[in-house]
Amino acid sequence: MGEEKDLLGSLVLELRRGTLILSVLSQVQEPKYGYALVQCLEEKGVAIDPNTLYPLLRRLEKQGLLESQWETGGPKPRKYYRRTAYGNQIYRELKSQWQQLSASMEQL
């Protein structure tokens, strides 16, 4: 029984992994800082571990999809991420791919 649960767990994880980038991109049209992003996604039912999100944000920035800026005005420095123009373009493409994919899945 336990094994079955493990297998299911890892399969679900595998399934979600591909959707994470799309989820993250969807939330950063306006600048957001890391933990706000975690909460924001959680509220919408997309759970993401901070130790997955932070490296992912960095990678997306390196790929030119996001840009970041440190805000030092508040009580503590915060790093805000937002989509770049290239990020917007990729996000739209990715979203339409997703819609197509989920439509195909519906038919199965």
């Binding site: 800082y33 890391g34 933990y35 706000a36 909460q39 571990d49 901070p50 130790n51 997955t52 932070y54 490296p55 960095r58 990678r59 440190w70 508040g74 009580p75 503590k76 420095p77 915060r78 790093k79 373009q89 493409e93 339409s96 791919q97 197509q100």
Partner: protein, 385 residues
């Protein structure tokens, strides 16, 4: 609510510890930035949690966290080369450690007997056992470590080389995919997808044909070569003394070496380099696994360089014991016993003889490789090179 909570000193301490454990595993240029990010994250999470412990538990093992920040390869030998590497290592380690152990043990035992003196047999036996085992085990361990390092280094270099090639191919593919996704409607996926394949780094036409049975380089082919290199290398580095004449003078054993052992430290490195080159070539041909232009070129280059090194050793360096004949004459006044050796020993001639034999072997080896490549492996040349 946000930003209002000030961390207690103890909690601050735990946070710093956690961050340090993540950051120390990252490249230097990333550390400061990640440290600030994590400070922000952990203090944010602390506001929602009941304790610092809970926050850190949720973040998980700092080593795992740091691992997610790194995107480069984190293995030395990947799955593709692992089998060949472990097989190769077994052959090399087994042949080298056994041989080194035996040679060093014998030398240690001789040493032990010599120290004990001739009268005390028991002391001699004990000392020879101690010295023999000590020497044998130490040298076997040293040679095992050396062989492991050498073999692993070559495989690791091959692994890195492959990754560089893969990355280039990957970039080409993703670039063409990007072009396609930018310009096409989703409805056209089928045909556009096909185009992406053909425009990218890979296409079905590039599939290498299944190799001819005789073009496949098997492990069996290499094993003799590897073991031979190891044996010669070890004999030359651990027991150059065996290349000598043993004669008995008035009941005592006298050893006169053919080789110039006084200059050995300048000769040995060249021989080791030559053998390392041979081993590297064996590894390369095993990893590629099939006769092709790359293997052929590597074979020609390695053999040629080895031959050049042999010429350097035998013709330019003081390879032979210059006093061989003199020493032999001094020990044995009666010439008739070893007259044969004395009459025919001639450095020039022996060097030339060895070079001719090496030359013939080289020609045969290169010839065989070239023949197999052209005859059976031809179709691969354009794929792999």
């Amino acid at each position: 609510m946000k930003g209002g909570c000030v961390l207690k000193r103890e909690e601050q301490e735990w946070m710093e510890r956690y961050i340090y454990q993540v950051v120390r595993r990252l490249p230097k240029r990333q550390r400061e930035e990640v440290r600030m990010e994590l400070q922000e994250l952990i203090s944010d999470m602390r506001e929602q949690a009941s304790s610092m412990e809970e926050v850190l538990e949720k973040l998980g093992d700092p080593a795992v966290f740091a691992g997610k920040y790194r995107d480069e390869v984190s293995w030395l030998i990947g799955p593709e080369y692992y089998d060949t590497w472990s097989w190769f290592l077994k052959v090399v380690l087994l042949s080298s450690t056994i041989l080194v152990f035996v040679i060093s043990m014998i030398r240690g035992m001789q040493d032990g007997f010599a120290r004990a003196g001739e009268d005390d047999l028991l002391r001699g036996v004990i000392l020879s056992c101690v010295f023999g085992l000590g020497n044998g085990i130490t040298d076997a361990l040293i040679s095992a470590a050396g062989c492991f390092g050498m073999v692993t280094l070559v495989f690791a270099l091959l692994e890195r080389q492959k990754i560089r090639v893969d990355k280039k191919a990957g970039q080409k593919i993703s670039a063409s995919m990007g072009q396609w996704s930018g310009g096409k409607r989703t409805k056209e996926t089928g045909s556009a997808g096909h185009r992406a394949d053909t425009a990218g780094g890979w296409m079905p036409e590039k599939l290498a044909p299944v190799p001819h049975e005789k073009a496949v380089i098997s492990k069996g082919d290499s094993i003799a070569g590897i073991v031979l290199i190891i044996i010669v290398g070890i004999l030359l580095s651990f027991a150059p003394g065996i290349f000598s004449v043993v004669i008995s003078v008035e009941g005592r054993m006298e050893i006169i070496s053919f080789l110039n052992l006084e200059q050995w430290q300048s000769i040995l490195p060249i021989m080791i380099a030559s053998m390392a080159l041979g081993l590297a070539e064996e590894i390369f041909r095993l990893v590629v696994g099939v006769y092709c232009r790359g293997v052929m070129i590597a074979n020609i280059v390695a053999n040629f360089v080895q031959l050049l090194l042999a010429v350097l050793l035998l013709k330019a360096l003081p390879f032979w014991n210059p006093n061989f004949v003199v020493e032999l004459r001094q020990r044995i006044p009666k010439e008739e016993k070893i007259g044969f050796l004395l009459r025919y020993w001639n450095e020039e001639m022996v060097s030339n003889g060895i070079l001719i034999i090496l030359g013939v072997i080289t020609v045969i080896e290169i010839g065989a490789t070239v023949y197999k490549t052209l005859r059976y492996g031809k179709t691969f040349s354009d794929v792999i090179s």
